[in-house]
Symmetry: none
Subunit: 228 residues, 2 copies
């Protein structure tokens, strides 16, 4: 999932350039031309970072910065045509994450933005990839085509067990044992139902699974990337 960046600048030309740069690099962008609009877009779009020009028609970037930070500790990178020491110090002094003076190299903008995002959102969510599905173990959810689905307790432990042995067959007995840790009889059918429900959450076509495969007579197995 791409980061969403809000660009606030009153120069159309520069705004489009920045937008182009960021889009090329795989970010999602949103834009505002003035303070009022910026606040509105900020609330609506909930961006992951803000690129903020100091000069704005209906106020200055510094006070807008204050309003943004009051609502949330969002990363903000100032852009400014003025390379006055005073401005730079003011921006950084307020707590901005960076202060970039125009003109700047597209590459440098990207790198500085990346640097900030890396620090702010560093903690890689403990996630696993399964084709086009992403499993977030911390949240206990799986994302596919942008939609999040919560895993139930049984589905969670079941999927985890399969994931830990991904590429290898896990017997039905072994699965039953991890799900009910006890007499491993009588729950085989229930297991199938859970498998089915899991497939509905991680597979595109649950009836023709591509990832959670059944091995007739033995058990189930999760495919491993680049392996069959």
């Amino acid at each position: 999932m791409a980061y969403r960046i809000l660009i606030v600048d009153d120069e159309h030309e520069l705004q489009n350039m920045v937008k182009e740069i960021l889009t090329q690099a795989g970010y999602e962008t949103d834009a505002a031309l003035a303070c009022a609009q910026a606040l509105e877009r900020f609330q609506a779009g909930n961006p992951d970072a803000v690129l903020l020009d100091v000069n704005l028609p209906d106020g200055d970037g510094f006070s807008l910065f204050g309003q943004l930070r009051e609502s949330r500790d969002v990363p903000v990178l100032f852009l400014s045509a003025r390379d006055e020491d005073e401005d730079r110090l003011r921006g950084l002094g307020l707590g901005a994450d960076d202060y970039i003076t125009k003109p700047f190299l597209p590459q440098e903008l990207l790198l500085r933005l990346r640097s900030v995002l890396r620090r702010v959102y560093r903690e890689e969510p403990d996630a696993a990839r399964l084709g086009d599905a992403k499993i977030d173990w911390g949240k206990g959810i799986v994302r596919r085509n942008g939609v999040e689905t919560a895993l139930t307790a049984k589905e969670f432990t079941l999927l985890k067990k399969l994931w830990e042995a991904r590429g290898n067959i896990v017997t039905i007995d072994a699965l039953c044992e991890t799900l009910w840790d006890g007499p491993l009889v009588g729950y085989e059918n229930t297991l199938m139902v859970h498998i089915r429900r899991l497939r509905e959450k991680i597979e595109e076509d649950p009836s023709h699974p591509k990832y959670l495969l059944t091995v007739r007579g033995l058990g189930y197995r999760l495919v491993r990337e680049g392996m069959r």
Copy 2:
């Protein structure tokens, strides 16, 4: 506890100046004149950040940077006398946290360092936001729609535990353990009651929580905003 900063520069004069600036600002400093020494001081001193000159007598700062990062994801700010685009892009491209060109204003160095440290070591402001609720950890108070509500001891530690893991599920066992420190069982119901009371303080509609969510069979989880 003051941050420890390692300065790596072969110019005595500049090194002393930087040292002076940082010490004045309340940082602890350590210094090295060349790569070999830098690595030694890095291992020994375990600094919280490194200020790194690009030009060094026994190698260049870029490769030293690689060695440092290999051992640990320490924040690094490059200092350079050369304001060549190429160098800046290279430094930032490697993953540096900032790139400052000499001569620089002492104040700017401090601000940029502070900015990086703030993100890396998460100096949590003494208050947290949760939707329209603001939590003041210092006072142990929650504000919503202008009304202040005091948190009780149990509610406070419970909320803090959830906050520290915000975005991720915290198991009921883990919560019980922090509230009653011990592998005690039998407090699950009490925990629920505390959860309920917390919700009444932070949620608009406690019966349909938007922030403190329950994950059936697994635990509870506090939503995290502006982040995926």
